[in-house]
Structures are given as structure tokens and as C-alpha cells.
Assembly symmetry: C2
Homo-oligomer: 435 residues x 2
């Protein structure tokens, strides 16, 4: 996709630019920060995701003739602002948490350094991408730990906007899902795709046996047959008759899974199909997955709850001005004082402090004003350069960047205190401290 | 946007097509139906939205070289299926509820008639669009009725995926919102756009007075000044000093709005700014809006809760095969029997029965098999042709179709029994009956 992302933006970003231009302050050097004030729903940690998509989107944040004409015709901004926008591209620096990294309240997830004009324009786009992708990744990580090693497939495309579906598949994969049903996610981000069959396929045929036979003729005996269109025991018997004991898997999409899964396992075993797997897909979330730990389930397919962040579809990240140069050229930390929404001024760096066993113990935030912040021996630096002088670092982009994010996520989950995996509500599992 | 939507799809849609092709049943004439089994969260009605976007997306559901190459390289389907897909376009008929219409459990929202192959492929895309847009429109309609005539602005772009943000702005507008912050929604769907300023704008300046002055210099005294970056009373006084008593509005984004709004109103009045409006934007949902009915608020800005469907971010619509021709050429109703997920077979038409006062009393669903279903004098037909022999009806598309949907929504809300506006959980406000 090469189309412009410039209008995927709130109107006030442009009118603020316009007013700053008129006031002569548009070029004032600024530092903006993305952070979350809290973790929604008593989560113990958040998973940062969206960077790979965001870097592409920032590069495509350019105002072409079409965009400028519309802005002019609709009198959104002045002629001076239109001239500025015509030449706009972000030429500043952005550093941030690696994609797949864990985060906590106050973690300085993205630090955007550039002129006010260049930086303020990106607010809406940055938050749209990060808030959605991180909400899904956070829900996904909890499902992955609840599944205790059993593979999970993302299959929620039909339960979120058609483009968000691609982002959700990507975020879930970064957080440890094994595959997605979404083909565009396979094409664009090289995520493994999977699929079974729908009830409609069975209903198309004159009977279930013909449907199973047709699916096996086309996809082989390793396929997954859907066994709950009519009576499950009949379908399981038919499935093994048609496919033989080498049948890959059966899928169950309804009923009380605790009971049905045990019955199906017993039936498959009695028919000799001992290696045929059972996959379940019935409105699962992390709690339902955890509750099935003792059931002979082999894999899970998760839809609605995953792509809607399991009750928290937006991560609650905000984009705040935290510093700018004053008239004398010195950096000045700034912060609003709004009730219950205060922010901490200053350009920030972040580190994760670990004990001698490598277990995370604190999120340490240091301000630029404390000198050049570096990691102590027991700390790991959390921010990396993402954009330097307007140039996107290639290693965070595309399928390779996405695969790296997935690997990084696995590594940092291993640092999490064991209690952090608990699904119950609580405080963030490690404190955020300002050094 | 002319890009293909063909891969915004679950893999199994394509493998089912492939298997049906091999079995020689791909051309079997079928009827698929979109419906919701229930209204989420004890809602009293749902608002159907997304049609205008969907019709575009279906037209762009074509497999070009890029898509076919990827499918071939990744061995998603056989060569026969690739040949079929290369020529694919939907040539059947789709009728459905008008966009903006109300719906209830079992309402046959979309009826897709075509070959199995042509129709099954559209499942994921249809549900992605309708589930998200209808979730937002339903939440929006409840907010509009809670606001009792005060205007609402949609400003949630940063709290949902960047493309879903455009869809959300459109859905909210159809359901009665007055404007959106999202510029792309303005360009693509001709929805009025609005904006104020962010805290960052105030913080950019050396003091609040300079920031207000700069905004007024750029946008005029009719603008909306954000007054909670520091102390609200100081900001209100400064705002009126700078803008005069003709100041358009002030925005409050934090604090206990019941108290703050009353204080700000009193202060504005005491300063002579009696016509300056107050807009509030602090994590509002339909309940918070309703609770402010007695406060001197002039307008609301709604973000997170709107674009995430106020607790129910997916409408729960499904796409089911309900009939196909049998080998003899006769229509056969089909339905799965899965526990708690059973569906009703047959091609359906729908009507809203109204009493002599014009108040809706029942959702009446009639099957094709009952003869050609037509409306009785006390009924209004709910379905309209959307696509005929593959050709999209132009009146439902683009900005004009969207404006028509908004008008239609206003008209049908007037039919709703008064109790239907209650925000509390309950049963659907009218029953769905199968004639």
C-alpha cells in the first residue's frame, strides 16, 4: 500500500499546526511521549505492538494533491499551512520500546523529537495504531500463557474492521499465536495461515459424509473436520470412517466443551484415531482457555475476544508534549495539571531492572536532565532508535521486523515474575520508578 | 481506494471453494443470510450500519495477479481454484435492511443469493464490515438519545485501528452524531469535521494566554478553547479576556464534570460570556451523557466508548447458509443444529409491524416458501435490493447513500416504542415473529 495516511488524522492536529505557524512557534523543538497511565482491567503487564505497521504509516504520512485540494476546498487550514503541508515529511527522531516488549504504567513507549509542527501532526495516527495493536497483543499474550504450550490460532477477522483484522492477526502472532485465518496477514506480514471449514460447507452437501469426503479429497486426511453441524458422535464416527485413523483433527464449535471434548477424545481413541487432534473454537477467551487446561484439547481457535482485546479494545495510550526548547534555547519540561490526568515532563529513557536470576523487578525511567541515561549492569535498556533524522530503521519493518518482534516477546516474557502470568486482576507486576 | 479486498478473508473460504469445485457443487445455487442471534449487553435494539462501505468492498473483491501469485506460491488452493478466482466477481443478488435501520435478534439483515462459490467467499468481508460498523452505530444511537438533542461529536480515531476510525466516524454520523474529528471521514463520506485544540498546544507556548491568543488569531473568537491544562477558573477568565464575551466555546476534558461544568457556566455568565458554550470530552459513554442531562453542557465529544461499541465492539452477526437447490432443482432449507447456535433455514423477508399510532410492535419474518412475501397494510418492508445480478445499486453508496442512511435512521427511531430508549438492560423492545 502506498496510499497516503495523512488524513487518518484528527482535524485539530492541522488547525494547531496552522495556529502555531501564525504564532511563529511551529519550529520550536519539542519532545512528545507515548505512554499509558494505567493497564486496563487490572492487567499485570501490557504488550507493546504496532511499531512495524506504524513506521510504514509514518513514511506514508504525506500530503499529496488530493489531500491538499480537499483541505483547501473545505477551508480546514490557511494557505500558509497548506504550503507547509505540501512539503511535510517527518524529519525528526523517534525512539521507543521494541515491538513485543512488555510495558507498565508510565513506560515511555515512544519518544518523538522534532519540531512542534512535524511532531504534533502524527499524534492521531500513532495512537490509532499503537492503541489497537497493543490491546490485541496484550490479550493474546494472556491467552498464550493460559494455553500452557498448546497452540492457538487467530480467527477473529469477522469480528473487527476489515483492516484492523490484519493488524490483529499480526499482533496476536507477535504475542505468541501460532497462525491466523487472515490471508492478507499472511501476504503482508508472512504470518502462517490456517483454516478448517464452516458449517455452510457441510450443509451444502446432501449429507455430512459427502461433505467430509469432499474436504478430504481436496485437502487430504490431515485436514480438520468440523463435527458439530448435526450430532457430534455421529459426525466423529463418520469422520473416522471417511478419513481413516490418520485424520488430522476435528473441530468443535459449540456445546459445553468440558464434556464434549472428553467424549470426543474417548470416541476417537475407541475408533483407533488416537493421534487425531481436537481443536475448539467456541467463544474462547483467556479464562475459558485456562479452564480447559485439564481437558484433552490439542489447540484453540480464538476470535472475538482476541480482536477486541478481551474486554479492553483500546490500550489507553496517550501522546503528550513533555518538553520543548524555550526562547533561550534551553530545554524546558512541560506537563499538564488536569485532575487525574497529570503527566510527567521531560524526555525519558527506560530500563528494566532484573535480579540475579534474570527476573524483572522494576521499570526504571530516567530523564535526559539527569545526564545521558545509561543502563546499570542489572538493567536492560528498553528503547531503541526507530526513526533517525526522518529515516526509518529497516530492522523493525516488514515480515522480518515482525518475526523479530515475536522472538523478542518470547525472550522478555521469560523475564516476567511468575505471578505476572496470573489472569486475575491486580497491580502491575513490577513498579515503575523515576530515577 | 481501488485496491483489492479479496485477501481480507479467512483462508477457509477459499479452501471450501476449492473442495466444492472438486466435488462439482460450487455452482449449486445458495442463499446465505446475515443475522444476529441476540443483541449484546441487553440492548433494546440494534442499528444496522456498514452497507455503504460493504458495497464498495464487494465490488473490489477481485483477485488480481498479486493475489493469485501469493495464493499459488503459498499453495493455499489448487490450480482449478486459482482459475476460478481469476475470473471471480459476485454476479448474484443481495437484498438487505437499509443502512441506518433498526434490527432485532433474527432480523434477516442481508440475504445473499448466488452460487455457493460466489457467495461463500464474501463471508469474512461482509461480517468484518457489518459487525464493526453496526456495533459503533448501535452505541452511537444510545448516546444520541441520552444527549436529548444536544449535539455530539465523534473523536475516537485514536482509540481504534486507523481505518476502523473512518468507519466509526461514518457509523456514528449515520446514528445521529453531528460531526467527527476524522478528516478522512470528511473527505471520503462528506461528514462534517470539527476540532478544538490539545493540551500540547497550550504547553507549547510560554503561557496559557499566548496559546489562547494564537488560537483565536488563527481560528477566530468562535473557536473552542481548552481550559483544563492548568487551573480551570484561571483559564476561563483568561479565555474571556482574550476572546471577549463572543468566545464560541470552552472545552473541559477532566475532573468531576457535574461540579466543574456548573462552576464554569456560572463563571462564564458572571463574565458576560452568556452565549459561550461548554463542551465536555472526558471518557464519556451513554450513561455519563445521560447523567449530565441536568448540567449546563452544550455539547459532547465522545471517543473511546463510541469507537469500541461501548462495551460491545462486535455486533455478533453471523453468515449462515439457509437454503440451496437440491439435485432435483428444488429449494431446500438447511440449518445447523449445534447446541445453542441453531439457525432457521430458508430465504427470508422482513417487515416491521406498527400500530395505528405508527409505533413499532413486531419484527415479522416471512419465508419465501410461504409464497411471495409482501407487507400487510400495517407493515413496512425492511429489505431493499442492494446488488442485482452483480450490479451495485448506486443509491446506497458514497456520501449520498450515507446521508440517506442518516435520514432513514432518524425516521425509524421515531417508530421506536418510548421504552426502547431506556439505557438499562432488557429484552429486545419488540419481538421477532416468524409468520
Amino acid at each position: 500500500m502506498t496510499e497516503s495516511t495523512a488524513l487518518l488524522t484528527d482535524r485539530y492536529e492541522l488547525t494547531m499546526l496552522d495556529a502555531a505557524l501564525k504564532a511563529g512557534l511551529h519550529d520550536r523543538e519539542c519532545v512528545f511521549e507515548v505512554f499509558a497511565r494505567s493497564l486496563p482491567g487490572g492487567r499485570r503487564y501490557g504488550v507493546f505492538a504496532g511499531t512495524g505497521r506504524l513506521l510504514d504509516a509514518i513514511e506514508r504520512f504525506r500530503f499529496g494533491d488530493e489531500e491538499l485540494t480537499w483541505l483547501r476546498d473545505n477551508e480546514v487550514v490557511s494557505g500558509d499551512a497548506l504550503d507547509y503541508l505540501a512539503d511535510y515529511r517527518f524529519t525528526g527522531d523517534i525512539r521507543g520500546y521494541r515491538e513485543g516488549e512488555l510495558y507498565f504504567p508510565g513506560s515511555p513507549l515512544l519518544v518523538v523529537e522534532g519540531s512542534f509542527a512535524e511532531s504534533v501532526l502524527l499524534e492521531t495516527l500513532i495512537l490509532s495504531v499503537l492503541n489497537y495493536d497493543s490491546a490485541v497483543a496484550t490479550a493474546a499474550a494472556r491467552m498464550v500463557s493460559a494455553a500452557r504450550g498448546r497452540p492457538l490460532s487467530e480467527m477473529g477477522s469477522r469480528r473487527t474492521g476489515e483492516r484492523s483484522a490484519v493488524a490483529a492477526a499480526r499482533a496476536a502472532w507477535i504475542a505468541g499465536f501460532a497462525a491466523t485465518s487472515n490471508l492478507e496477514a499472511g501476504r503482508e506480514w508472512r504470518i502462517p495461515t490456517m483454516g478448517t471449514a464452516a458449517h455452510a460447507f457441510t450443509l451444502l452437501f446432501d449429507d455430512e459424509r459427502q461433505a467430509f469426503q469432499a474436504q478430504i479429497d481436496s485437502l487430504g486426511t490431515g485436514t480438520t473436520l468440523l463435527v458439530d453441524t448435526f450430532a457430534v458422535p455421529t459426525a466423529v464416527r463418520t469422520a473416522v470412517e471417511v478419513a481413516g485413523t490418520g485424520l488430522g483433527a476435528v473441530r468443535i464449535d459449540s456445546g459445553d466443551l468440558h464434556i464434549v471434548v472428553a467424549e470426543v477424545r474417548a470416541q476417537l481413541d475407541s475408533l483407533g484415531a488416537t493421534s487425531t487432534r481436537i481443536t475448539v473454537t467456541n467463544d474462547l477467551d483467556e479464562f475459558a482457555i485456562a479452564a480447559l487446561a485439564a481437558s484433552p484439547v490439542n489447540s484453540y481457535g480464538v476470535g472475538t475476544s482476541l480482536v477486541t482485546g478481551s474486554g479492553h479494545p483500546a490500550a489507553g495510550m496517550v501522546y503528550k508534549l513533555v518538553a520543548h526548547r524555550d526562547r533561550g534555547g534551553d530545554w524546558l519540561s512541560v506537563a499538564k495539571k488536569s485532575t487525574a490526568k497529570a503527566s510527567v515532563g521531560g524526555s525519558k529513557h527506560a530500563f528494566r531492572r532484573r535480579d540475579t536470576s534474570g527476573v524483572a523487578r522494576a521499570e526504571v525511567v530516567r530523564l535526559d536532565t539527569d545526564g545521558v541515561p545509561t543502563a546499570t549492569p542489572d538493567e536492560r535498556a528498553l528503547q531503541v532508535p526507530l526513526i533517525e533524522a526522518g529515516v526509518v530503521r529497516p530492522e523493525w519493518r516488514g515480515p522480518e521486523g515482525t518475526a523479530a518482534a515475536r522472538e523478542h516477546h518470547t525472550a522478555v516474557m521469560a523475564e516476567l515474575p511468575r505471578d505476572g502470568m496470573r489472569l486475575s486482576q491486580g497491580d502491575p507486576i513490577i513498579p515503575t520508578t523515576y530515577a
